[in-house]
Structure formats: structure tokens, C-alpha cells
């Protein structure tokens, strides 16, 4: 109450030099969230017996699940990049009627429960689905295959890349592109030599978020692709089903997932940090 009267002066003070007490207060206030986010991870690490962990590593089902997860997430991230980039550029550079509607529609898979995505994919690409029935006549069956896993992952994860890429492209100043155009660069040259190099740190972080989301994808996968070891049983599915049989198996996979995710995020952040500094 007393502070509120002197509020403007404190603000100007803080601009001049950081006030350690404020930092301490901020840290204390951040602590509950930090602890809440970190304790469950710590609990998992502490719970597992290192010997069981090592024994489980040789379990073929675990190896299969890891391999399948790596292959499918690579594909789904690549699909997001390949097909998401034009869409993101369109949304960032062309302002048209219905643009914001389109933008909202693209966000939907991010907010919908993945199980909704699974049902949607099943009734679209399933044997009796809108597109699936037609594919089935052509002899192509998608549900319960590895392709279905990739499709499920792409559906829920690509919007993360697209949304980020839109922001990345929008951040590249139009004048720079126009300057290149005046100098005679073709639109493709402008994109490859001006827009992409300037936007790529943002694109990369978008890709990482997409990959991470794909790696954790569960609901849409189990509904649309089912569960078959080596074919559609990715790490999250193996963790879920392992929980019901042998919690140590689940914990092993969970820790691997944790470690891999942490490493990738850390490496990408390091690359980005270096890149941002040199910009």
C-alpha cells in the first residue's frame, strides 16, 4: 500500500540499476512453478533402479519403440517443413479475406485433444472414411500402418511449425526483400537468399517444437494407427501400455524420452544462441 504511492519513482530507479531484492522476490515467486515442473521429473529419475534400467535397455520392444519413434518423427517433421513452409509464407506475406479465419483453423489441431484428431483421421483416412474408402478401392490402406503414425503426428504437430514460421517470416522486413527485388532478384532468389537466412532461427525453433510434439504424440496415434510393436507402437504407446504390465519398462522408456528430448532442445538452443549473437 505504501509502495503504490512511490510506484513511479521505483520504476525509474529500476531502470538505472537492477535491484537485487526485486530479483530475489521474483525468484521466490517463480519457485513454486519451477518446483512443480521439476519434481515429477526428479521423481522419475529417483524411482528407477539403474540395474533394471540397463537390463531393460536390451529389451527388443524398447529398441523397436525408440527406432519407430525416431523414424516417424523425422518424417512428420519433414512433412511439416515441406508442406508447412509455403502455407506459412502465404499467411505471413499475403493479406487476404478469410486469412485470420484460416489462421484460426490451423490452430485448431493444437488445442483439440489428440483423441479428437485420432477420430477425425480415422473417419477421413480409415477404410470407410471420406478419403480412405476411395484409397481402399485403389488398394491403399492407411489405418494401422506406420504411415498412419506419421499422419497422426503431422496432424497434431505441423501447426506448431506453421504458427512459428508465420511469425518468423513476418519478422523479416519487407523492405529488405523489396530491395533485392529492385536489384533484379527473382521471387525464388529473394526467398532463398534473403527471407530464409533471416527467418531460419525462428523456423528452426518451430521445427523443434513440432518434432517434440510429434515425439510425444499418443492419443491420435493409438486411435488411428493402433498399437502393434515395431509397426505402430511408438515410445509414448509403449510407455502407456508398459505402465500396465511392468512399470520399470515404462520408466526406462520415459527416461530415454526425457534424455533425448532434453539433449535435442539443449543442442538446438545452443545453436540458436550462437546464431543470435552473431546476427
Amino acid at each position: 500500500m505504501e509502495q503504490s504511492t512511490t510506484f513511479p519513482r521505483i520504476v525509474t530507479d529500476r531502470r538505472r540499476r537492477p535491484f537485487p531484492l526485486t530479483t530475489l522476490g521474483l525468484l521466490l515467486a517463480s519457485l513454486p512453478m519451477l518446483a512443480y515442473l521439476l519434481f515429477p521429473l526428479l521423481a522419475m529419475i529417483l524411482r528407477i533402479n539403474p540395474v533394471t534400467l540397463l537390463n531393460n535397455l536390451t529389451n527388443p520392444e524398447i529398441g523397436q519403440a525408440i527406432w519407430l519413434s525416431m523414424v516417424t518423427t523425422t518424417w512428420s517433421t519433414a512433412l511439416g517443413l515441406g508442406f508447412g513452409t509455403p502455407l506459412a509464407y502465404l499467411l505471413a506475406r499475403r493479406h487476404f479475406r478469410g486469412g485470420s479465419l484460416l489462421d484460426t483453423l490451423i490452430e485448431l489441431p493444437m488445442v483439440l485433444p489428440p483423441s479428437v484428431a485420432g477420430i477425425a483421421l480415422l473417419i477421413t483416412f480409415g477404410r470407410r472414411g471420406m478419403i480412405g474408402a476411395w484409397l481402399d478401392d485403389a488398394g491403399i490402406s492407411i489405418a494401422f500402418t506406420t504411415v498412419a503414425v506419421v499422419l497422426a503426428q503431422t496432424f497434431v504437430s505441423a501447426p506448431f511449425y506453421i504458427k512459428t514460421a508465420v511469425a518468423g517470416f513476418a519478422g523479416v522486413e519487407r523492405e529488405l526483400e523489396q530491395a533485392a527485388e529492385i536489384d533484379g532478384a527473382t521471387p525464388a532468389q529473394v526467398f532463398v537468399w534473403i527471407t530464409l537466412p533471416l527467418a531460419w532461427p525462428v523456423l528452426l525453433s518451430g521445427l523443434v517444437m513440432t518434432w517434440a510434439r510429434a515425439l510425444g504424440e499418443f492419443g491420435a496415434t493409438i486411435l488411428f494407427a493402433g498399437n502393434f510393436p515395431g509397426r505402430t507402437q511408438t515410445m509414448p504407446l509403449a510407455i502407456y501400455l508398459g505402465f500396465e504390465q511392468d512399470i520399470n519398462l515404462s520408466l526406462t522408456l520415459a527416461l530415454i524420452l526425457l534424455g533425448v528430448s532434453f539433449l535435442v532442445l539443449w543442442i538446438v538452443k545452443a545453436i540458436l544462441r550462437q546464431r543470435v549473437m552473431t546476427l
Partner: protein
Amino acid sequence: MLWLPSAVLPTEAPVKHSPIAILTLLLTLLIAACGAPAAQSPPSPPAPTTAPTNAPTAPTAVAGTTLTVFAAASLTDAFKAIKPAFEAAHPGVTVVYNFAGAQQLAAQINEGAPADVFASANKKQIDVVISSSKIISGTAQTFVRNRLVVITPKANPAGITSLKDLAKPGLKLIFEAKAVPAGQYSLDFLTKASTLPEYTSAYSSTVLSNVVSYEDNVRSVLSKIVLGEGDAGIVYTTDAATVVDKINTIAIPDELNVIAVYPIAPLANSKIPDMAKAFIAYVLSPEGQQVLATYGFIPH
């Protein structure tokens, strides 16, 4: 300069005095770690409190009492029908169900999920809970039986009309995972059939090579067959009975069928053991058995 969304990039806030900040952080973390056990103890009342088991006061009709029943997915419809009758007979009690694969429920209970009654689709999952002392050995009793049936979508695109047809090449069969009781029973059925000359010894492996998915529970097998995504699946007769107009059934003869035995037991750490026992008694009573029978279960 390039505009970068702060939420996306790892651009840290300009912390100039980072050593102090890190030290403070470590210190406060340490304090938090010391305080953590105290802070964690209140929200875990379902921890092993064995005391109320022989509590003298029987909370027969305390208004607002909630009885939590963990029940196998195949019991969904029958138990939902039992709920109003039981609640009418025990005013003030609300029955809350958690339906899932019995193996999942057992894992949840063992990890401390609060439950008063566990109704499993096989003895194995009851034993899993007994092994962690959350159910006292000898308190489980069989309350109903069930049997398996092969189902196909109504349109039956693969033309499956007999059990032998399950071995036709190129089918898409949807089974339950081995951890799910119905999944284990399905394997038992295939093994038994393989010993008979009319099915040949390769029957089991041929049928299994047609499986495209091992689902997490019976109901999701049922849904995928109803949707026509699979050519055939194996579920309980009781599950098939809920969607008779959308599927065809192929009976599995008794000599090959596995009669699933459903045990029910009170949880040792239930806060309302008398109510848990009352629920089990109701399920075993003629009225309860009658309800279960109307959903296709075989009385115990």
C-alpha cells in the same frame, strides 16, 4: 535486426548478475526441497491407512458419501445400470466409476489411486493388487462370468463366417494387448484351437499374423470393428450385446472358449469399508445378478 518472438527463442532476460541469481536459485531450491515432504503429505490421504478397516462406527448413510468403484471396461454398461438401484437402497451414497482395462486399473491402484472396490475381468489383476497389499488375500470373490465371441462388421467385407476364416491371408484383425485379460483369453483360445486337427497346428500363428493392432481395452476393439476399420476382432459376448445391430457374431464353442471369471474385492485402505462391502453384496445379490444377466453376463 530481425524480430524474434520471445516465447520461441532462447533469449534469456538480461540477467547481468547471474552468479548471484544462480546462487539464490540454488539456495531457494534447497529450501524448497527441505520443505517439500511436509508440503506433499496433505494431498495424499489415500496412502496406506489401514486403521478404518475395523472402525466401530458404520457410516451407513452419511450424506455426500462417495463410493469409488474401479471396474473393468467390459462391465461399463452393466455397472452403470446397477448404480441407481444401489444408490436408491443406500441413500446419501453416490457411486463413482472408473472404467478401464483391468490391468490399467490395477496399475493405478498400486500407484495410489483412491478406490473402494475393484472389479476385475480376471484373477491375475486382482493378484497384482494383492501383491501390493492393497487388497487383502482371500477377500476377492467371483461375481460373474463372461465368454469370448468373434465379431465382424455388419457388412463383413472379408466374408468371415467361421472361426477357420480368421486364418485367411490378408485380413485385418484387431485384438486386445496381452496385458488386457481379453487379450490373454484370445491367445488361450487360439492355442486350444491349434491342438485340434480341424484347425491345424499353424492356426494360432496364422491368425496372429493377421493382427494389425493390439488395443488397450475391449471397448476400443469393439469401436474399431463397428467402424469397419478391422475385418474381425474378439470381444466378450457382453460387449457384442451392446451393438448387436452393427456387428455379426461368430460363437466360439465352449470347448475352445475361455470362461472369463470376474472377481470383485474391497480395497484394504478404503475409508468406507462397510459401504464397499455393501456394494459387493449388492452385486452378488439376486437383484444385482439379474442386472448383470440382462447385459449378457453368466451369473456366478
